[in-house]
């Protein structure tokens, strides 16, 4: 059993197909007898490779077009070509000359790091193609696939992925790459099970049958029939649930917003490709983390605009900077806080670094003007109606129209009615709410039973908040990961929660569970949970009250 990092939750079984290794310069590669003829051969190799890549770009679709065009441009690069020809003119063998020149560029790109590092794969793929041409060996990369195959490679260049007949690709396994690499992104977009950073992947013999499970990040050699059965059952359920792309609603048609949690533009693009009503939580702190200075207004506005555009006018709820406690920032966190979870975090940063929020609201307003799309905006860690009012005043002064706050501090849940008088909506962050209700650090594993979202005391505060929302006629959503648990989702709907925001992969099962209960039935499930005296009992009572078909399908 080999292990790596899984991308997504898919699984597949098939024979290993190895991506042809890159051609290496023969150790006895001779210095060119006829330097001019060799130079002409090298020129022809560059031209042919560039032409082939351009032809591939013409036949490609979507993001692959730009990637292939840029790779073709590298094959045609004047500096690369001039330097290789100069070395050949000095009597160096052609592939050795190519390798030496490519190495100087790879070193430069590697030293520069960042985005250039990602181009190294493209450059190497140009090198491999030109070298194959010079040596008269087949173009490296993926062989023509004729049936189901698990593609195994050191890493896949974009040009390789573009050449793959994805209909036959059961799974992708790479020894290198990361979960945000090109290979992983393509696999995610195409829902191909993928496991990256698998040590020993290149030792798998072609033809060996392997079971690739992205959910557990494993690659099992010669799996038994029970593995195939389990995969098939999982796929059948997932496909069945994913087929339903209807808007979230109870069995009797009460709408329930099903939304995605995101942190980056890439997340937004992925969410846009799924059947969600929009984004219920855009965690903007991702932009701020691991930096020594805050991002500029322009930089933020560009990212916000990109996210709004990606969702094409669907609802996007932007949470302002939620830093502090377990998400420290070099430029904002207070040093020496004794109790960071109870300290200057979230909206409270307005007391020590007010310019952070001002800049962020201005950037959001810029993005709104640029795209013509109005984001919803909410502040985290609000404790009092006065804080809610101050935030709403600031946001509205910037021209932001739909303003809300997070309910994660018990005080805000208890006084939700007064809070809702100041804002247009509330969204419950259930992880923090549970942490503060139960006075239990959410990062302490030994306290995990105390901090369960199923604690009746936590459910009581969710119920109070949802009730205040209904009385005010304003949305009250949940944007913690608990919304992605189908059983909890039914309870939340029964408590009167109007929208559920979760990772987009959780949406199909939640949509299914919600759609199989009328509002009245969901209320009964919620009442069963609220009537229990412990977290364990609350979940058991909810499961027992579920519609039988839902309980059966979820294996709950």
């Amino acid at each position: 059993m080999l292990t790596g990092a899984g991308v997504g939750r898919g699984a597949g079984i098939g024979p290993v197909v190895r991506v042809s290794p890159a051609p290496v310069a023969p150790t006895d590669e001779r210095a060119p007898a006829d330097r001019e003829a060799t130079a002409a051969r090298a020129t022809a190799a560059f031209d042919d490779v560039a032409a082939a890549l351009r032809a591939q770009a013409d036949g490609a679709e979507g993001a692959a077009v730009a990637v292939l065009q840029a790779t073709a441009q590298m094959a045609q690069d004047r500096a690369l070509r001039t330097k290789v020809l100069a070395r050949i003119a000095d009597g160096e063998p052609p592939v050795a000359a190519l390798d030496a020149v490519v190495k100087t560029f790879v070193d430069m790109f590697t030293a520069a790091g960042g985005m250039l590092l990602e181009r190294v794969t493209d450059l190497r793929s140009v090198r491999d193609r030109v070298a194959a041409h010079l040596l008269g060996v087949p173009v490296p990369g993926v062989p023509q696939l004729t049936g189901p195959a698990v593609v195994v490679a050191e890493d896949l260049a974009p040009a390789d992925t573009a050449a793959l007949d994805l209909r036959h690709v059961v799974a992708i396994v790479t020894e290198q790459g990361g979960t945000t690499s090109h290979t992983a992104i393509i696999a995610g977009q195409r829902s191909i099970p993928c496991v990256v950073r698998v040590t020993g992947a290149l030792d798998l013999e072609p033809g060996t049958v392997v079971a690739v499970d992205a959910a557990s990040g494993t690659v099992e050699v010669d799996p038994g029939p029970e593995v195939a059965e389990a995969f098939a059952e999982r796929a059948r359920l997932a496909a069945q649930l994913a087929e339903d792309t209807s808007a979230g609603a109870t069995a009797d048609g009460v709408p329930v917003g099903l939304l995605a949690n995101i942190g980056t533009v890439a997340d937004a693009e992925r969410a846009a490709g799924t059947a969600v009503e929009g984004v219920g939580l855009f965690r903007t702190e991702v932009l701020f983390l691991e930096r020594t200075t805050a991002p500029t207004r322009e930089e933020q506005a560009a990212v916000y605009a990109e996210v709004l555009r990606s969702l094409g006018g669907r609802k996007v709820v932007v949470r302002t900077l939620d830093a502090g406690a377990d998400k420290p920032l070099a430029f904002a966190t207070q040093p020496d806080e004794e109790n960071p979870a109870l300290g200057v975090r979230g909206y409270r940063l307005v007391r020590t670094a007010p310019e952070l929020l001002e800049t962020q609201l201005a950037a959001l307003a810029d993005a709104q003007r640029e795209t013509g799309i109005e984001p919803w905006v909410m502040a985290p860690m609000i404790s009092t109606p006065d804080e809610a009012r101050d935030f709403a005043t600031s946001a509205r002064a910037h021209g932001l129209t739909t303003v809300g706050v997070m309910v994660e501090v018990p005080a805000a849940a208890l006084r939700a009615e007064a809070i809702l008088a100041e804002v247009d909506f509330v969204s419950m962050g259930t992880n923090d709410l549970a942490q503060y209700v139960m006075a239990s650090d959410r990062l302490r594993g030994e306290l995990s039973d105390l901090i369960s979202m199923w604690q009746p005391a936590v459910l009581d505060l969710v119920a109070a908040t949802a009730r205040a929302g209904q009385q005010a006629g304003k949305p009250a959503g949940v944007c913690g990961e608990s919304a992605g648990d189908p059983v909890m989702a039914v309870v939340l709907v029964g408590l009167g929660v109007t929208s559920l925001s979760m990772s987009s992969g959780s949406v199909p099962a939640v949509r299914f569970a919600v759609s199989r209960h009328t509002q009245e039935q969901a209320r009964a499930v919620a009442a069963a949970a609220l009537g229990a005296r412990s977290a364990t009992d609350a979940r058991a009572a909810a499961v027992a009250a579920l519609a039988p078909e839902v309980a059966a399908l979820l294996g709950a």
Partner: protein, 90 residues
């Protein structure tokens, strides 16, 4: 030699798509155009590999230079290109 200095407007800097469009335009001009990042050594502006190697981030200044007939007009065109956010249109 005619030269121009301009700040790179593309949000991702002079990488990927912006670098691709710029070097293509420089190659199509038919002149030997060079580009230097700040006080650095000038390199061939028609080479995507050399231009990307400069690693110019958003907002940094680059200096273009070219010799020959039409050099001024061509430099103006290339400056306009760099002063545009090339990450925008897609």
């Amino acid at each position: 030699m005619p030269a121009r200095t301009v700040a790179v407007a593309s949000r991702s800097g002079l990488h990927a798509r912006p670098a691709s469009l710029f070097t293509q335009a420089a190659a199509d001009s038919g002149l030997d155009v060079t580009i230097a990042h700040g006080e650095g050594e000038p390199v061939d502006a028609a080479s995507i590999l050399l231009v990307m190697s400069l690693g110019v981030p958003h907002g940094d200044e680059v200096t273009l230079a070219a010799e020959g007939e039409d050099a001024d007009r061509i430099l103006d065109e290339l400056v306009t290109l760099l002063a545009t956010d090339l990450d925008e249109e897609h």
